[in-house]
Symmetry: C2
Subunit: 218 residues, 2 copies
């Protein structure tokens, strides 16, 4: 019985998400759904991407959080349109929540919409929001055993950003095991090792976004 409820919610979500997807395609907006645990570094990554990309791309951001508008305020300092969704108790964004705030933007003035999901390595992976790609960020401090334990997030993501590699000298993190397990779960996953603190690896990630925004073949 409970499973049925969940299935219906997911089906209803899919209808709304594909309406949004059609709208984004009409407006020529590339949409990225950024997911990861609390503290993985989502907002910091986003701030750095904005600084690097905003001169040549018209960027907008939707921030998802249980509570507070702190992240949207951080983003708004970069002088780009940002809207905060507070989910109340919900541990993920869904298609309806994202759809509901689109009226806050002028969609004709956006090339790249980045949606920062609620900090959670589980549920956000289940709910499409109309994005072109899902990108997950995970920090090396979370441990090298995560691909097998939280497989869905790895399966649905196009890119995996492995963050905080500046901390590797102080951790027991088996890079080979982590990458091997991640690719077993999703052989097409693009893995990029980065540090938002030192800037290492970020250029590869910025280039990937630029390619996606400029190409018509999404």
């Amino acid at each position: 019985m409970e499973v049925k409820v969940v299935k219906n919610i997911l089906e209803a979500n899919e209808v709304i998400a594909s309406q949004s997807r059609t709208l984004f395609a009409e407006k020529g907006i590339y949409v990225l759904n950024l997911m990861g645990s609390p503290g993985a570094g989502k907002t910091t990554l986003l701030e750095q991407a904005i600084e690097h990309l905003k001169d040549k791309n018209r960027i907008a951001v939707i921030e998802g959080d249980i509570a507070t508008s702190r992240d949207a305020e951080r983003i708004a300092h970069h002088a780009i349109p940002a809207v905060q969704i507070n989910t109340g108790g919900a541990c993920h964004l869904d298609g309806n929540m994202v759809r509901g705030v689109l009226k806050e933007f002028d969609l004709n003035q956006i090339d790249l919409l980045i949606v920062e999901n609620v900090g959670n390595l589980v549920c956000p992976a289940e709910f499409n929001i109309g994005e072109n790609d899902k990108v997950m960020i995970i920090s090396v401090t979370e441990g090298d055993d995560k691909p097998q334990k939280y497989p869905l997030m790895f399966q649905v993501s196009t890119v995996l950003l492995l963050n905080k590699i500046d901390l590797l000298p102080y951790l027991d993190f088996d890079m080979e095991r982590f990458q091997g397990d991640a690719l077993k779960v999703n052989p097409r996953l693009k893995i990029m090792a980065i540090s938002c603190k030192t800037g290492e690896g970020l250029d590869t990630w910025f280039e990937w976004i630029k390619d996606k925004v400029s190409t018509k073949d999404r």
Copy 2:
């Protein structure tokens, strides 16, 4: 409509959780629900608690994970009864899942049952499982802004274990801000700073459990 579904699920859960709570009280078992993000250090903490406490306490463990039985295998190496719940897609344990595996244990031979929840800083906080106390573990690498952004977990917990303090020299983590914000959300929260790597602070935590297990006033 959706809210109503969620409310009914929570009410049904509460009925089952309080049946379990009554059963645990009859058997004299102290039950602890251990929650935190993926990679916060739940299983490592649990292994160290088991090694420290198992001579004088009869311990059993329930492991919650989306997939794999890796954590229960880690626990079983310590020669105590351990059962793995694989939730499939679900991002938290609920009262029914825990109730369903109790038949795997001899409840007359247990003083302390520790339930390690699915790695998630959000949903596990919503579902009682019949525990006496909820304990959350968060690592300093997750950032000092978490109490305001994920308030429910902090509100429902009796103890907050702040883990990986050995990494503090390499991070920008404002301890005063974190503790202040956590206590604003829950003034009765007991905060213990620990490192499972160096052992710092663990004695305070072990003593807290021992007191709970031995006292009748829970």
